[in-house]
C-alpha cells in the first residue's frame, strides 16, 4: 500500500513524508543515551516512555531529538507547535480538494503513529490544553489517537516513539498535570563545554578557518559564566561564525565586525 495514504475505518488519510534530517550530535553523549534509553522496549508488554527535552533556546534540543531518531534507526517526523494550534491540526485536518471534496490530511504526528517513527513535537509548551488532551491516550498505555473530525481511532505502530521539546522560558500555556505525569523523563539539555562547543561550530561551519572559530569561541568563553548562564547559545556561536566568514570574505575586518555582532547580540538578549 502507498505509504502516503492509509485507509482507517473506511476513511482515507493522506500522510506526510518523514523529515530528511542529517543531524549530527557532537559530544554530550550522555544526553543522547538518556533519550535513547527512554525509547527502549524490552518486551511486548513493556511500553516506551514519552520523554521531554527541556533547555534554553539554541542548546540543541531539536538536533538531539532528530539525531537520536537517526541513531534509533527510525525516521523523524518533526512537528512545530504554535499557540493557536487546534487538536485537528495535531491529528487529522480536513482540507477542501478539487471538486469541493473534503480530504483528510494526517499531521506529522499521525504519520509517525501510523507508519512508525519518531515524532518530535517541537516547542510543545506552546500548545493549549485542548491539544494536550487529545494526546493523552497516545501518551499512556492506550497508545492511540482519536480524530473527532475524521471519526477514526488510530492505533500506534509498535515502532512509534515520541519526544517533545520545550523551552525553559515562559510558556504560552501551562502543561496540564495529567500530561505532565505522562511526559517522563524530563531530560535537561545543558549548554556544552568549551571543547564541545568548538567541535560543534567546526562541524556546522566547516568552511570557517580555525583562527576564526577559535576567535568566536574565545570571545564566547571569555566570560564563561555568561555562556553558562545562557547569555549565548550554540546557535549564536554558529550564526556568529557564519556571519564572520561572510564579512571576512568581503574583505572586512571580521574581528571588528565580530565584536560589533557580539555586542549588539548580547545587548538584544
Amino acid at each position: 500500500m502507498d505509504s502516503k495514504k492509509r485507509i482507517i475505518d473506511g476513511i482515507e488519510i493522506s500522510l506526510r513524508e518523514p523529515d530528511i534530517t542529517h543531524y549530527k550530535w557532537i559530544g554530550r553523549d550522555e544526553e543522547m543515551r538518556f533519550l535513547l534509553a527512554s525509547w527502549l522496549q524490552i518486551d511486548k508488554e513493556d511500553l516506551p516512555m514519552t520523554p521531554v527535552l527541556v533547555g534554553d533556546p539554541g542548546n540543541g534540543k531539536t538536533t538531539l531529538a532528530c539525531a537520536s531518531a537517526q541513531e534509533f534507526n527510525q525516521p523523524a517526523y518533526l512537528m512545530n507547535c504554535t499557540s493557536d494550534m487546534r487538536p485537528e491540526d495535531l491529528i487529522v485536518t480536513p482540507v477542501i480538494s478539487s471538486g469541493n471534496q473534503i480530504k483528510y490530511r494526517g499531521s506529522p504526528l499521525v504519520s509517525a503513529v501510523i507508519n512508525g517513527g519518531v515524532c518530535v513535537l517541537d516547542e510543545a509548551n506552546r500548545m493549549n490544553e485542548k491539544c494536550w488532551a487529545s494526546l493523552a491516550p497516545l501518551l499512556d498505555d492506550r497508545r492511540y489517537v482519536e480524530s473527532v473530525i475524521a471519526g477514526v481511532k488510530i492505533k500506534a505502530h509498535s515502532d512509534f516513539r515520541f519526544v517533545a521539546t520545550m523551552n525553559d522560558d515562559p510558556s504560552t500555556y501551562t502543561i496540564p498535570g495529567y500530561i505532565e505525569s505522562r511526559l517522563k523523563p524530563v531530560i535537561e539539555v545543558e549548554p556544552p563545554s568549551g571543547e564541545v562547543l568548538r567541535a560543534i561550530v567546526k562541524a556546522n561551519v566547516p568552511y570557517a578557518s580555525e583562527d576564526l572559530i577559535e576567535s568566536v569561541i574565545q570571545h564566547m568563553l571569555k566570560d564563561e559564566d555568561a555562556f553558562l548562564s545562557r547569555s549565548f547559545s550554540i546557535r549564536d556561536a554558529i550564526e556568529v561564525t557564519r556571519y564572520a566568514v561572510r564579512l571576512s570574505r568581503k574583505g572586512e575586518d571580521y574581528q571588528k565586525s565580530f565584536e560589533y555582532i557580539m555586542k549588539t547580540g548580547s545587548e538584544s538578549l
Binding site: 543515551r33 527502549l40 485536518t93 515562559p170 523523563p185
Partner: protein
Amino acid sequence: MKDKIITLPYFPGRAEDAYNIKEEISRIEGCIVVVDLPDGLEEEIKKAVKKLPRISLIVDDLGRAIPIVPNEPAIETVRTSLENNINLEFIDASLSFPREEFRGMDKFADLVEDIGVERYAELMKPYKYQYTESRHKYMALKLRELMEKNNEILFVCNIKHFKGVMQSLDEPLDVGYGMVAPTTTCKVKESDVGKISSEIPFLTFQYENSRNQGFDRKDAIIQLYEDEEADLGLVETYKYARNLAISDGHVYPNLYNILAAAKYTQDDDYAFNILERSQTYPYTYNESNCIIKSYLNYDLEPLDGTRVLEIKKKLKLDLKGSTKKKRSSHGGFFRYFKRTQECFKTEMIFVNYLRNNYFQLVPSGEFEVEEFQCGLGDGIDVKQSLRYRFTDKIFVKNDKMINNTGYVVDFGGISDDAIFCDSQNDCVGTATKYPQDDGFCWNCMVIFPDTLEVEVSSLLYRVSYFNALESCVDLAVQYSDFVYVFSDSIVESMENNPKVKFLPLERIPQKLRDEMCCFDVEWRN
C-alpha cells in the same frame, strides 16, 4: 584432573552471585573451597570477615585494597565457609610491581595519593598483562597442588580470571611465590562505605538483611525509591533506571543510573533524597582508624568507578518560620506618593514587556466567528453560515482567548518605608527610600491583569512590609487566573500551586529591571 574442580565464577561486587555462592557452599559436602583471594592474607581477611556485617578495608603498602563487604562474592565465600566449618584455601598471588620504574617509592599507596588513582591505574597499564598472567599461573599452580591432595574442589573465581586460570592449568608452570605486602585493616565508617565498593551501600544493607532468604535487586531498588511524594511515578522511575542500565551495557542499574532516573522522572530534590538514602548502611563503625582514600583492587582498577551527575538541591526560603507582623487595617499606616511622569512611562514599558512576553491565554467563554479555512474550530456557526449561504462559505466558531495573568516582581530587600499603588498600570508593592534624596526603590510588587475589577488602592492594605513576597503572591493569585513570580526565592506554600510559576528575576532583561527598580517622586503627603 580438571574434573575434580567445580567452578563458580562470579562478577565482583554482585550480590546475586554472592547469594548463589552461599547457597552452593551450604549445599555441598566433602569439598574443599578455593577462592581467588591473596595467599598469605588468610588471617587478616578471616579476622575481618568475622566482624561482618561491620565493614572493613584491608589495604596493603602497594595501594591495593580488599573491601570486606557482605555482598562481595569472594568475601561471602569466606564467610559461609567459616560459618559451615568448611576447609578454605586462598590461591591468588600477592604479587609486587616492577619496582625499577618507581625507584625510591617505598609505599605505592603514597604514589596513589600523590598522582590520583586514575593516573596510577594508567601508569600500571604496561605491566598489567604480565602481572595478571603471573597471577593466573600462580593460581593454577596452587590449584594443581590442591587437586593432588583432594577429591573435589569448589573453585570460586572472578569471571575475569576464570578462563586464564583454567588455561594455565594445562601449561607447564614456573612461577615464584609473590611477596606479601604488609597490610592494615581499616574500620569503615558509614560515610565511607560508598567509597570502597561499587555496590550501593543501601543495597549492601538490603543484602545483609535478606542474606538467608534471597536477594531481589529489583525489590531493593524499589525500596530505595520508595518515597511518599514519588509513589505515583515509582514504576516509571524504576523502568527508566532499568533502561539506562541496559543502554549502559549492564543488567542492573548502578547508582549513577538510579540517580539519573530519579532526577529525570521526578526531580532534583527527589534524586538528592535518593542519593542520601543510598548511602545508608547502619552496621558500621562510628570511628575509623584510617583515612579512606581511593585505592585499586587486585586487578589494578579503581575500587569505584565514578561519573558525575549534577543534582541541584532547591534552596527554599522558609517564610512560614519568619516573623510575621500583623497587617494593620489602619489607613494611616501607609504613606502616599506620586511618581514622576518619566517613572510612569518606564513602568508602562516594563508592564507591557511582561504582558507581551509572559502570558497565559484562557478561554473567555465567548466565541469568535471566522470563515472556514482548514479546521472546524469549535464547530460550525450555523447562524453566520446561513446568513452568508449565497456566498457558499462556511463559518466556524473559535474560543475567544483572554490573558488574565498577574505578575509578582521581587527585586529583593525588605521595606519599612512605603507601600505604593498605581491605578494606571494596576500595580501595588513595597519600596525602600533612597538614602540621599526623595527617590525610592521597589522591593516587591504585584502587577494585576488589566481586567482587574476592584480599585487597586483598596488592595494597598493587603500588602505586608515584612512578608512582601508572600502577601503579593497571595494577592496576585486571588485576582488572576495565572501568576508569574519573578524572584530568587520561592514561597513554599505556593510552590505546588498550578496557577503560580516561579522564575528567576534575571529572566527580565537587566536594562528593564534597572530602569524599573528605582523611581523618583514629585510630592508626598
